[in-house]
Subunit: 102 residues, 2 copies
Amino acid sequence: MARVFLHPAAGDITLDGVLHALADPARRAIVRKLMVEGGMNCSRCCADMPPSTVSHHHRILRESGLIRSEKRGVEVVNVVRREEIEGRFPGLLAAILNQSGA
Amino acid sequence: MARVFLHPAAGDITLDGVLHALADPARRAIVRKLMVEGGMNCSRCCADMPPSTVSHHHRILRESGLIRSEKRGVEVVNVVRREEIEGRFPGLLAAILNQSGA
């Protein structure tokens, strides 16, 4: 069976969920990388982490509404839902991700 | 024995801890109230909550470095460590607390 990814609708993204998802340096690093690269496969994004950890972090980011996981051919590409997050919580992502040492 | 409150030094306040502490609407409401009022006793701040819940939320806020609990005579007054948080994570508090419906 094809793997199905569940994403919250933009209107269902909560501040609690976004803050919880970003309260972890590994997840902030993933979001930052995805914002720079535009979209990335899990394994390319986090080659230094065990696959179960990579999968766990991506699931939390996806369920919070921060990223979207899309099938493109045989691979899954993750992208940050930048405009939707910005529309819902203006300035939040930059205020968190731009902290030095964050 | 007098109750002793433990507070992290400004340099030990982490982004993880602050985001985790603010990933809860009740705790965001407490911080917002304290910022407006300048300083408040737990029970006056949260008269509508069970004391154990009030105490739990204040402990998480205190241990994250967001608030300072000070003995003033017979009562404990909580204040937001506004300047220290701002110095460490510029713009973060406003970006989180000013979200509509936050």
